[in-house]
């Protein structure tokens, strides 16, 4: 097999291993970064929801305390405020979602569905769990969810959620007396759930990976070609020329050509050595003839 083929085989092998390793490592890094980015979005949304709840509780509800004696205003309920604010965001970002999924809610829209119930049960069985992160498939693609428990820590909550006899009559007018009662202090009654679509950051990561790998392949390709050109120009052509002259000298044709070069590299040294060897051979043959 010719030198250049051996060289190219080894080079190709090295390129393939390097390409595969670089591709795998960059894929992992990009996917991890994408997931981190998604999780950061989710955490930010969760904090925004908590801020909305806090604002409603500390600033809005006190202003409406008098009105509440006449009509129940769901706008004074922190959970309602956070959910409604998010529903406004969903008008332009349909794949994002926030829900205060509850096992026994006052407002039926907050009732936990199957997978949400599973999440709530995780918190109920391990109350010390601060949050749960998971992924699920949705009709619009893969989605990451971040969940935190809703625990009744304030006895004031039980004014509306202990028994329907104790609840404000105005609240019963709106929601009836069948749902949202029987809650107990320190009970985990639901979970705050933020859902963030994974498609965009993952697609971006895949696009970045694709660009990177294509660039790497292009660089490898150009390097491959340049190395072949250099090998041919610097080594193979000169060695072939040296071999041709040496071959003629070996057949007795001392006028085949001179082993001359200005290069000081290894081929140049070989050329000079062959030149000296030819000169020695010519002198030796002259001595034999005389």
């Amino acid at each position: 097999m010719k030198l250049i083929w051996k060289f190219n085989l080894v080079l190709l092998g090295i390129f393939i291993v390097g390409f595969a390793t670089a591709g795998y490592v960059s894929y992992k890094v990009l996917q991890t970064n994408a997931r981190e980015e998604i999780l950061q979005h989710a955490r930010l949304m969760m904090e925004a929801a908590l801020a909305s709840r806090n604002y409603t509780n500390t600033q809005i509800k006190p202003l409406l305390d008098t009105q509440l004696k006449y009509t129940f205003l769901p706008q004074t309920v922190p959970a309602y405020a956070a959910t409604e604010q998010f529903n406004d965001i969903r008008k332009t970002h349909k794949d994002y979602a926030y829900k205060e999924a509850t096992l026994n809610p006052t407002n039926p829209r907050d009732r936990a569905n199957d997978w949400e119930t599973d999440v709530v049960q995780i918190f109920r069985q391990a109350p010390e769990t601060p949050e749960v992160i998971g992924e699920r498939d949705t009709p619009t693609g893969r989605s990451l969810y971040l969940a935190r428990p809703i625990q009744i820590k304030n006895g004031a909550c039980l004014v509306c959620h202990s028994t329907f006899d104790a609840a404000p009559k105005t609240m019963l007018d709106l929601y009836g007396n069948a749902n949202g009662f029987g809650w107990k202090l320190n009970e985990i009654i639901g979970a705050q759930l933020v859902s963030v679509p994974m498609s965009v950051p993952v697609a971006r990561a895949n696009a970045t990976l694709r660009t990177f790998l294509l660039s790497l392949a292009a660089v490898f390709g150009v390097t491959f070609v340049l190395l072949n050109v250099m090998l041919h120009t610097i080594v193979i052509r000169r060695v072939t020329w040296l071999a041709a002259i040496a071959d003629q000298v070996s057949l007795g044709n001392m006028d085949a050509g001179a082993f001359q070069t200005r290069s000081k590299d290894e081929i140049g040294v070989l050329t000079e050595a062959l030149g000296r060897m030819k000169a020695s051979l010519v002198q030796a043959m002259k001595m034999l003839e005389s």
């Binding site: 008098t66 009105q67 004696k69 006449y70 009509t71 404000p168 009559k169 105005t170 007018d173």
Partner: protein, 288 residues
């Protein structure tokens, strides 16, 4: 006729001495068409004007009048409504008795403070006694609805002949209703029709803005004199004696006197003044 005029002048000089009423509060909100009757004259109301004992406030449809009392709390009246300040017993800036108002009709939110004597509101079907409480009431000539926002209210039904009827203690969060054709009833929250009919701003706490008018001296603009048609309900109500004395000077007005004369059977007190000859002692019968 000369005798009648002389009697009238004498009677007026005794009974119609101008009274001085101390400021009982400030009109801090006046929106829409509202006027106040002071003595026998109507004046257009303006924010910053002073509220006095014996004032009668008349608020047109959807008009809003808020009075912040010097002592005792804040009232917010929404028309069509009429309110009479029957008693504001202030002496040396202290209340010496209960404040008393008459509300023949209208929406009223009353936020009272803790005073020694409390506040009394009289309507055609009941008398309400309040102290340190907030209530919203809707009064019509033969009906009453009240919602106790906070505190407690004693409701005394008006019995036959002006006597007190049954009394009830209404607590915070309770709604009470009474009409001429239905007995008194109560619910544990304000019913939706009541809330829907209520002027919306009454669901909020009443603002306290009297400081804005503390140093203001607003002159009321005179409108006109009271007519007989406007005076008649007061002359025939529970404060009859006060109003006979108050509207007495109007007998000098020909139109007013003519209307009184047409209904003289209702005003025996004025009959004596207008027709003293009817009440002169009869000469003894000649001896036979």
């Amino acid at each position: 006729m000369k005798t009648t005029s002389l009697c009238l002048v004498l009677w007026l000089s005794v009974t119609a001495a101008p009274g001085y009423a101390a400021d009982g509060g400030i009109f801090t909100i006046v929106e829409g068409s509202a006027r106040v009757l002071r003595d026998t004259k109507w004046y257009a109301l303006a924010p910053g004007a002073r509220f006095q004992e014996a004032d009668i406030i008349d608020a047109a449809e959807k008009a809003q009048v808020q009075i912040e009392l010097m002592k005792g709390g804040t009232l917010n009246l929404v028309g069509p409504a009429t309110l009479f300040a029957a008693a504001i017993p202030l002496r040396n800036d202290q209340l010496t008795g209960a404040l008393e108002f008459a509300l023949p009709r209208g929406w009223l939110k009353l936020a009272t403070k803790a005073t020694d004597a409390g506040v009394r509101v009289r309507s055609s079907v009941a008398v309400l006694n309040l102290q340190d409480s907030i209530v919203v009431m809707h009064i019509e000539p033969n009906s009453m609805e009240i919602f106790v926002e906070s505190g407690a209210v004693r409701i005394t039904e008006s019995g036959a002949g002006g006597k007190d009827g049954a009394a009830y203690d209404a607590k915070a969060g309770e709604y009470w209703a009474r009409s001429a054709d239905r007995p008194i009833s109560t619910e544990r929250r304000a019913p939706p029709p009541f809330v829907a009919a209520m002027p919306h701003h009454l669901v909020d706490p009443l603002p306290n803005i009297s400081a804005k008018y503390k140093d203001a001296r607003v002159q009321l603009v005179l409108d006109r004199d009271i007519t007989y048609a406007e005076a008649a309900p007061w002359l025939n109500g529970p404060y009859r004696k006060n109003f006979l004395k108050r509207f007495g000077p109007k007998l000098q007005d020909r139109e007013f006197r003519g209307a009184v004369e047409a209904n003289i059977a209702h005003y025996p007190e004025w009959d004596r003044v207008l027709h003293p000859e009817k009440y002169l002692p009869k000469p003894p019968a000649p001896a036979t």
